[in-house]
């Protein structure tokens, strides 16, 4: 109803406004500006939805062709990933431990025992209805990001890989300092990957056979830390 009224081109004489009735159409300029803004809003919303769809969808010819535009729009604010436990949930638990070295004043190097970093998280989560992000996400995501940037090799090949190594070191150092204390100059991580056993009854034609996967143990290299403790 109002739409029909606004489409009528009214006289744009600003001086004439004073005497007219309240039903007088709004000035053309204002009218045009409003319409333009409305169009812009609708177009932006549609384009946004389309670009987010292409970002969320698996790679396809369309998203490959416009990847530059999609990334420019979506990153970083609208980045998203909804592969929640998909295509398959993780079928392993990781137990990450750390040990440290300390050089005594007489020049001998002492290697500490293993300190269970994941254990802190596990016991923090247990019997807590609202576990902290520090327990559920910090070490877990630091390690998965390390894996993403390093693969099976411990040599960092990118700036991001170095950053993830630094992050993991910091987490280990923080936790050791807080829970065990003592002076140390370098730290080594050990990641034990324990597969979750397939369901007990009739494993069926699942992708994994009946044979349980072996426990995998990975030792990372020693990382120097700015000396702690003393």
């Amino acid at each position: 109803m109002r739409e029909a009224r606004t489409e009528k081109p009214g006289e744009a004489v600003p001086g004439g406004i004073e005497t007219v009735e309240p039903s007088k159409p709004p000035p053309v300029l204002l009218n045009a500006g409003t319409s333009a803004a409305v169009t812009l809003c609708l177009a932006t919303a549609l384009v946004h939805v389309l670009l987010v769809f292409l970002h969320v969808a698996p790679p396809n010819p369309l998203s490959r062709q416009y990847s530059r535009q999609i990334n420019a729009w979506v990153f970083p604010l609208f980045e998203q990933n909804w592969r929640l436990f998909a295509p398959d949930p993780e079928s392993v638990n990781r137990q990450i431990s750390a040990r440290t070295t300390h050089t005594t004043p007489d020049g001998r190097v002492r290697v500490s025992g293993w300190f269970d970093l994941s254990g802190i998280d596990d016991s923090a989560v247990e019997h807590d209805a609202f576990p902290s992000h520090t327990a559920q996400n910090m070490l877990r995501r630091a390690w998965s990001s390390y894996l993403e940037t390093h693969g099976d090799d411990d040599r960092p090949r990118s700036e991001r890989a170095l950053m993830m190594q630094k992050y993991l070191t910091d987490i280990a150092v923080d936790r050791i300092t807080r829970h065990r204390g003592g002076a140390f100059e370098s730290v080594q991580l050990r990641v034990v990957t324990v597969p979750i056993a397939a369901p007990a009854d009739g494993s069926g034609p699942g992708s994994s056979g009946a044979a349980p996967k072996p426990v995998d143990t990975r030792y990372l290299s020693w990382w120097k830390v700015t000396s702690h403790g003393n």
Binding site: M1, E3, E18, V20, P22, P26, L30, T34, A37, V38, C41, L42, T44, A45, V49, V52, F53, F75, P76, L77, E79, Q80, N81, W82, R83, F85, A86, P87, D88, P89, S91, N93, D121, D122, V125, E126, H127, A129, F130, P131, S132, H133, T134, A135, N137, M138, R141, A142, E159, M163, Y167, D170, I171, D174, I196, A198, P199, D201, G204, G206
Partner: protein
């Protein structure tokens, strides 16, 4: 006409209000829950040091108010600002301005601890950004209460009329109303599409996984140490392999079907089942924040008449149980006319009145 509906009337104002209250509350609870860990997550003492965060921002283009300074007092004041902003957003005080602040706060905290976030945080961030576009403060808010009081006191939102400037102001107000409505409707559309993409992709990626197909996926989920706050409960659930398989299939079906059932009555049973699923995730996996964010996102699809009925129900039960309390508070509220704003919220008539002229 369709176009007119998009440009004239903001849709689903109650759903928008529920999102505002819900996400504001959720973020407040999250901040308070992490109070003992705030420095470890967002502060200068985090293992993800401010230096690392800034280095990453240079690569990704993120910005955060938290990396502007490494001093502890600055961080503490940012944390306090986040608490206050979430509270005010939840209450709907000067909503449009506060919603911008809320989005800035959520984005800043998210970006600062990007390697500690999960799907729930991601969803809250997206919603915080989208809610800036919406008129989420029109219902169930302090702003709405103020408008109502002004209306009952006789000074409506429209200024004095008759003079030339009054006429121009009226036209500008009409134009502004149109733009607000369009922006709001676009925001709600984007939110709805976003939730559909979420479920659609979550479901379709699961279809590609073998464990969802053979009904064992949830067995693995139940055995993840970090998502097992009640091991006895998880073990108990894990023993029922048939139920697990049914739950696997139901999860995938619900998620894939979600975008397609929204336009019919079927959406009510689907939303109810999703609610059950999220409650299960919240308790069994210890992910209340994630589940809360998802439940709120689902709530965007409930129509205004549902929320109005809910409001009436709440008022009726509230009147029955706290009748004395309500009386006391309405006395304290001064010149508010109690019976008038009870049934239909007046902001609609107020805006209709001025556009009908």
């Amino acid at each position: 006409m369709e176009i007119e509906r998009v440009t004239e009337r903001p849709i689903s104002l109650y759903a928008a209000a529920v999102l505002r209250i819900g996400y504001g509350f959720l973020y407040l609870v999250f901040l308070l829950r992490e109070f003992p860990h705030r420095d470890e997550i967002w502060g200068p003492g985090s293992p993800w040091t401010p230096e690392l965060a800034r280095q990453l921002f240079d690569q990704t283009g993120w910005l955060s108010i938290l990396t502007l300074s490494d001093s502890r007092p600055y961080f503490e004041s940012c944390y306090a600002l986040a608490l206050v902003t979430s509270t005010l957003f939840m209450l709907g005080w000067r909503t449009r301005a506060v919603s911008v602040l809320f989005a800035v706060v959520v984005a800043s905290f998210h970006a600062r601890a990007i390697f500690m976030t999960d799907g729930g945080d991601n969803l809250i961030l997206l919603m915080a950004v989208y809610l800036v576009l919406t008129a989420c403060g029109r219902r169930w808010s302090l702003d709405a209460r103020r408008t109502r009081r002004q209306a009952s006191a006789g000074k409506g939102p429209a200024g004095p009329e008759g003079s030339g400037t009054g006429e121009l102001r009226h036209q500008l107000a009409a134009s502004r109303r149109t733009l607000t409505a369009v922006l709001h409707n676009c925001g709600m559309f984007v939110i709805a599409a976003q939730v559909c993409f979420l479920y659609g992709s979550a479901g379709l990626y699961k279809v590609q996984g073998g464990s969802w197909g053979n009904g064992t996926a949830l067995h693995y989920v139940l055995n993840l140490d970090l998502f097992r706050p009640w091991p006895e409960l998880s073990r108990m659930a894990d023993e029922h392999s048939v139920l697990i398989a049914i739950a696997c299939y139901l999860t995938v079906l619900l998620q894939v079907a979600f975008p397609f059932v929204l336009f019919g009555r079927l959406k009510y049973p689907v939303l109810t089942m999703l609610l059950g699923m999220h409650l299960g995730i919240a308790v069994l996996m210890g992910l209340p924040l994630f589940s809360g964010a998802m439940i709120l996102a689902d709530a965007v699809f409930l129509p205004d008449r549902f929320y109005r009925a809910l409001g009436r129900l709440r008022r009726r039960t509230g009147r029955r149980t706290h009748s004395t309390e309500a009386e006391a508070s309405s006395c304290g509220e001064g010149p508010l006319v109690p019976p008038q704003p009870r049934q239909a919220p007046p902001p609609v008539p107020a805006s209709r009145r001025s556009s009908a002229r």
